[in-house]
Point group: C2
Chain length 264, copies 2
């Protein structure tokens, strides 16, 4: 199935997902098209959350926001339905994970707003195309993620620490990695820190808070990018009565190409 | 007064404005620092309006949004007070201009939200520094602005046509003008159209809908940028019971330098 699906159009893949004929992770599907994180919350928190994203664009790059009660992401994919077109969803009640489901039709309400946030897959593709290896892909692990001492700018009830992902980069490719990811502000953009983990509050680079540790070879520098886990943590801390996200690695596949997200 | 003020810091200029010792227009004050458009609306419209801006970043580049009821623009100038630090304000009730005032303390309410939007002064400075003349400055007029047939992406109750400003650019500098303004997505960014006014619904290039006509010389091309009048028009069309803006040309002067708004 994975093999047949891979090269189909985003719309065709979403159709297969909608019919629950594919329920797995999305990396590698529809190469060249941007994938997105999902976060659904009630309207009464939506202004504060959109403002939190606006004030913290590196960890929270907004690609699309649905109208209140609408399940259609008009910018990313006008033909899509956010309630069915992601392989797996997680349901949170009062901040606690209560269920993992294949669609969210039964949870949908007229007061819900869906946020689709940029995902690092896009800039990882650009790094690979620039000849910069991605260690966690080479080692078939999850990217290592760390809670830092960098505070996000609060907005209304939302606040919290910035979560970062780390990729070891050979010393002579670090500047190029900054340039390449700088073209993609809509998917986290340039790094937030280069080099010293302790300077941003990371005690042990081999013990990530989320994801897996990866090998850092001699001559490589740990480079840290703002991570999309940041807004998830900020939302769950206020314990909304209902929040819905994609299951990790099971993203929304939009109609926009990665290249359409580049600024230059 | 203008001469003494010109080279002071943004904070010092705001203090003078706060005490109503300067009530004039702001172009030329605090050169190198970004100035911003103000739009204040009630909280109940704030999510839709922020979403409208997010969906239409060229005409509506958000630089800062205050927390509900707060008059402090934390990102642009944490020491400022939005109610007093602009030389002149306009008060709109149900979409109609009812007053022009020197401060808005008596109009302020706990449910108001202030939006500060990027202003073309920043990219005009960059154009001038790149050796590209600005005709309406040379001719001491207001920039010519036109209502186009380009529709903004609607959001909730907000919709409308994009308003653009026009600057005639010598043919051999048009590409450079695109490059220079492309560095500033937070202040309208690259043009939305180059060349043919009719293609975007403009019938007579010598009869702007707002501002003044300027001379277009032989060998010059009219270049059109998204204009900050767009969100004002969109807001006034829904006739909010209260809305407050800066008076034209009387902007908010923040602590950010123009260069800090550049993406590369």
């Amino acid at each position: 199935m994975m093999f047949e699906l891979k090269e189909k159009s985003p719309a065709a893949i979403r159709q297969v997902i909608r019919e629950n004929r594919y329920t797995g992770p999305t990396p590698g599907l529809a190469p060249g098209y941007a994938q997105a994180n999902l976060l659904v919350i009630p309207e009464r928190m939506a202004f504060d959350f959109l403002l939190f994203c606006q004030r913290n664009p590196k960890p929270c790059p907004v690609l699309d926001v649905t109208d209140v009660g609408s399940a259609v992401p008009e910018i990313l994919a006008p033909g899509a339905d956010i309630r069915t077109d992601i392989p797996r969803y997680r349901i949170y009640k009062n901040g606690a994970l209560v269920d993992e489901v294949l669609d969210i039709k039964e949870f949908w309400r007229d007061d819900l707003v869906a946020f689709l946030l940029g995902c690092s897959f896009t800039f990882e593709t650009a790094l690979l195309e620039a000849g910069i290896g991605i260690r966690h892909i080479e080692e078939r692990r999850n990217v290592p993620m760390f809670i830092t001492n960098i505070r996000c700018r609060p907005a209304g009830k939302f606040s919290g620490a910035m979560v970062v992902s780390m990729r070891p980069i050979p010393r002579d490719q670090v500047v190029r990695a900054v340039e390449v990811t700088g073209r993609f502000p809509a998917v986290h953009g340039t790094p937030v820190h280069i080099g010293d983990p302790e300077a941003i509050g990371i005690k042990d680079i081999n013990r990530p808070d989320f994801g897996d540790a990866v090998t850092i070879k001699p001559g490589e520098v740990p480079v840290f990018w703002a991570c999309g886990v940041t807004p998830q943590v900020a939302v769950m801390e206020v314990k909304p009565e209902l929040a819905i996200s994609h299951a990790p690695g099971h993203m929304f596949i939009g109609d926009l190409r990665d290249a359409e997200l580049a600024v230059c």
